[in-house]
């Protein structure tokens, strides 16, 4: 089953920057895909289109068979609840504790309190931050903050997880930990798309690699490596 499908998708920003040009791509349910390419090649744009943070200029995007380009504005929250998004810049709320930051993602979608009390500690154990539950983001290291943002993206067990450079600015050992986590999440059936610049991670994982350059797909390999 196709989880994500891009059909002739182009994105031109208001200032006429063509960030994506005529993209055609399908990602199957349960796949793990690396998006690679130089800075400015369109990776983040690709991911933002999937949660409708921005809209396509031309073309269509299908998620689980549904065309999201003609989705009503009132249906957008529903779409986002099914997609976990690990932001390039974490986007943790500084005045909320680790627990609250994650609980917040569940409150937002109307989960009752007793569910939150069970699910948040569970996901914190998964990312190894159970003991930091009551810390504030500024009391955490970069890697720990990154893991909080993964926990928040995953706490709702969404069928799709999008990660925008989840290992940027993190040392190799911590990066390995995060990749193990994402692999585990992928193993339980979650479709994962991850944008990255990290050559060694891509090379060691041997997953599907889609390479972008100036908004075009120039390579799509089954068990690829970072670059040729």
């Amino acid at each position: 089953m196709n989880m994500i499908e891009f059909r002739n998708v182009s994105k031109v920003y208001e200032d006429n920057t063509a960030a994506l040009r005529n993209i055609n791509l399908t990602i199957k349910k349960g796949e793990f895909v690396f998006l690679v390419g130089p800075s400015g090649s369109g990776k983040t744009t690709f991911i933002k289109l999937l949660i409708k943070e921005i809209s396509v200029t031309t073309g269509n995007i299908f998620i689980a068979g549904r065309n999201i380009c003609n989705l009503k504005v009132s249906r957008i929250p529903q779409l986002r609840r099914n997609i976990g998004y690990i932001f390039q810049d974490f986007k943790l709320l500084p005045n909320k504790t680790v627990f609250e930051n994650i609980a917040f993602a569940l409150e937002v979608i109307g989960k009752p309190g007793y569910v939150i009390k069970v699910q948040v500690p569970q996901v914190l154990k998964l990312v190894g931050l159970f003991s930091k539950m009551n810390s504030f983001p500024h009391q955490l290291s970069g890697g720990e903050q990154q893991r909080v943002s993964i926990a928040r993206a995953f706490v709702n067990r969404p069928p799709i997880l999008l990660a925008d450079e989840p290992t940027g600015n993190i040392d190799p050992v911590t990066s390995d930990g995060i990749m193990k986590l994402l692999s585990r999440i992928n193993l339980i059936g979650t479709t994962v798309a991850m944008a990255t610049h990290d050559r060694s991670i891509v090379n060691s994982m041997r997953r599907r690699v889609v390479e972008l350059e100036e908004g075009e797909i120039i390579r799509d390999q089954k068990r690829g490596v970072y670059g040729v």
Partner: protein, 303 residues
Amino acid sequence: MIFRPKYFFGETFSNLKRNFLMFFTAITTVAITLFMVGFFLVIVYDIQGILGSIKSQVEVAVYLKDNITDELRVYLENEIKSWDEISEVKYISKEQALENFKGEYEGSDILKEIQGNPLPASFELRLESPEKVDLVALRFIDKDGNYIEGVDDVIYGQSYVQKLFSIVAIVGTIAFLIIAVLLLATVVLIFNTIRLSIHARRKEIEVMKLVGATNWFVRIPFLFEGFFEGFVGSLISVIFLFILSNYFLIKGERAVVDTMHIKDLAIVGSNNVILYIYLGLVAVGGLIGIISSAFALKRYLEV
């Protein structure tokens, strides 16, 4: 979406605590502006009340010559009744006049000095439109400036009545203009304060929206906040207004009323209308808070 009062109130109050200065500014703004609006409303209302009392007391007394014939008297009465400005004509005969006089001065020495009946018969006129009292009086005067036949004298109000009417009209207009401007200023100020408070939390709103919050979920705590600010602010203004009108205005107005000899005056703070002004202010405060928040939020929800 399930309504989650605990979450929404929790959010609202933690926001208020976090942005206490902003919150304080908003409340003070509402309190001051609504206080001024309320103050003017009370003043205008009171002036209306005083004016009403004065108006109802404006009457014209037309004293008749003792030698007037019954024919002429009846003719005059019918003529006066046909004028548009007149609402009521009452004939007081000489005997009736003496009777009234005795009633008013019962037990007083003045009665002993009265020989026979020196009081004239008269018509008492009540006016439909008291502003036209001059016009009515003029009708009893002929081309040469004398009173028409059968009329001895025409007496009406005091000379300040006319001036008062025009002053009150001007004051009323100015006060309403000021109220309109103040209300507008209140809206703009609350709108801005809430926009600032929203702006300070735009990151939070963005994240909320990106993890799948509906617009209403984001909106509700801010609407509560706006309502709370408007409500508390207006409550404070009402308290100050209450104190001011009860301890200062009433005394001032009593003094005015006493010097002007106005009876049956509705005085500040002593009736329902003032209560409605207070309730109105609180409602307006809360409403302005909510509406300003809703408008201020609009731009930030487009994620």
